[in-house]
Assembly symmetry: C2
Homo-oligomer: 427 residues x 2
Amino acid sequence: MNIKEIAVIAKSASIRLAAVKTDVKNRALNEIARAIRQRSDDIISANQQDLSAAEKEHLPMPLLKRLKFDEGKITQVIAGIESLITLDDPVGQTLSAIELDAGLELYKVSCPIGVIGVVFESRPDALVQISTLCLKSGNAVLLKGGSEAAQTNRILTEIIAEASETAGLPRGWIQLLQTRQDVAEMLAQDDYIDLVIPRGSNEFVRYIMNNTNIPVLGHADGICHVYVNADADVNMAVDITVDSKCQYVAVCNAAETLLVDSGIAESFLPKVKIALEEKNVELRGCEKTAAIIDVKPATEEDWSTEYLDYILSIKIVDGLDEAIEHINRYGSGHTDAILTSDKDKAERFMALVDSGNVFWNCSTRFSDGFRYGLGAEVGISTNKIHARGPVGLEGLLIYKWKLLGAGQTVADYSGPDVKTFTHRKIK
Amino acid sequence: MNIKEIAVIAKSASIRLAAVKTDVKNRALNEIARAIRQRSDDIISANQQDLSAAEKEHLPMPLLKRLKFDEGKITQVIAGIESLITLDDPVGQTLSAIELDAGLELYKVSCPIGVIGVVFESRPDALVQISTLCLKSGNAVLLKGGSEAAQTNRILTEIIAEASETAGLPRGWIQLLQTRQDVAEMLAQDDYIDLVIPRGSNEFVRYIMNNTNIPVLGHADGICHVYVNADADVNMAVDITVDSKCQYVAVCNAAETLLVDSGIAESFLPKVKIALEEKNVELRGCEKTAAIIDVKPATEEDWSTEYLDYILSIKIVDGLDEAIEHINRYGSGHTDAILTSDKDKAERFMALVDSGNVFWNCSTRFSDGFRYGLGAEVGISTNKIHARGPVGLEGLLIYKWKLLGAGQTVADYSGPDVKTFTHRKIK
């Protein structure tokens, strides 16, 4: 099958999946959990093949660790599915209801988006999470995982498809793509695919954003800032800077630039330098920073670089508004924090910084679906429409308008001496 | 100024506008209403220039009528502004609030999208409606109206900008583009413009959708269907078909194709033919239709044609599922109606037809922001994300996540023997 044929089947499955009742979807989730448990030996053995191949190709240790899918991971993904079963069905919720006139009722009702294309990194557990989130929200899904995980992804998809179709889901609601070329062809299927969610490197996400007419949900850069206002608590500022930069450097919500108010620079910078250098962070500073502490000089490029590494750029600013301006100019709209004891300044920062996540006196690393209590996360969005910040199930939903009448025509409501609308809320 | 400079100014204004308080926005709306009233002579005289030019170019009468901006229209747009003032501020609403842990609170708060580019048809009242909706929702706006209305649009923009900036809004939050070339350049400003709303011909909307990386909200085609199920009330079916087709043929929610169940075709078709021919509707039918009533033959192309005229294509289908399949294949996801006395069939139709608006026993012409009680409408969307169907103020909003802490780091919540999240709802 070519990718268009795959997409056509997914579209057709998505229509039927949208109308599948809650108990059938939950039964399918149960069957999937059961089948994953039952076939765990096959899964682990497929994963062993991927791991040996990856070792032969000398994949770095962190990648190997993410690729590994063992008993522990299997228990985790099954627990995830079980918790998904307990959630209310997000489809078919009445979001608003209004009587337009007696016997003419308008309902705004949540429904699935349709067909979601997801391109994800090498963790095979992501495949299970994403596909079961799509199932619960009634969306068909085309998946493309990292090629290192090919065998594991193949068997997981097979198990999920088989178990869910036995439970009554439409054939083809979940399908796996094989190659990068498949992804390129998927991006052209805007007649059949409604949303693409890419996860992976900045370059890859940007390539997807620039090469499709399908809406894309996600983020390329994560250039996050910590701004230390003049009245910040210095010890708190040191702790939060260290956490924001170092708690996990390779992720999108790690801080890349530290903005320091000139009023606190002399007391704060020497302390934060010691704390960061203990963690082996390389510091790059503006000229004013270099006048206070010993740092490499930062260039213009540093302000728009996502290091994803033990490197931090530092800039001294004159007051809140310069910090806000810097963030809106160089940031990526992901996550930015202000450290201050002044509520008004915090509020001004959170109102004027145009980012999906704006924090006061806490670490940028909190910007995450699990920490936000959203359950599993489909990704973090820096889009300005639909869904922003960490996106859970609700990002996979839209709504339709249902109007229930008894023969009404618009002519009855047009012109002089006609019926008028009541527009009375009924929910 | 070139378009990039205009967009940069709008972006900068949008940041400040996002934080403008409700009373300042309402004062600005009041000032705009006052200034439009005060300068009504200037507006009418500018409109006279546009009208004379248009008459010289022999614009068709319906276009001239839409172009006209007289005392009546002025009274209408002022009434619109006054009703907008009475609405709650949609910005700053807390959509959810959750305590992640003691002293660490997460708020999901509504906020403006940013900079909206709107391309609209020749009605100058649209300029006032759209710009005041953007103001109330805290969005900056770049406007491009029909060139026939150039003088009217120029003076209206001037009045709105002056009045609102005097009331305290940031300079450049509203700006008018002049030419089609300006629009093409606007579409390249994806660093500064967050959403484009095109209104106008199908070809024009499709051109915009295919030529920008900025998200586009709107619709190209409006291929709407009426499906008459076997158990429909024949008289109701005739009335609704006539209304859906003829009440206003030139608009997107007028029906273009009539699907008739084979079980009712012989009783229904002759009656609907008489009623439609009274309105001078040309009928084009499938072979089975032609075997019952005298119609021109419909071609494959007819099923995907939006006539916007007194023409209706007719197809006989065998049952509900064939109707659903036809609509999902040839429709545009806009508005589709089923006529049936069977609730289960209606529900199946509304669940499986993948359109923004799905109706039971009423006319497709109800699909409209005013009739839905949304107040003014920014457009009708056939998108599958963000906003669907008639879109009012809420389509101009997104949200940001605000996290308020007291020094928390993620390290405190990571690893063994650590703090755990409470995830307790606080609203």
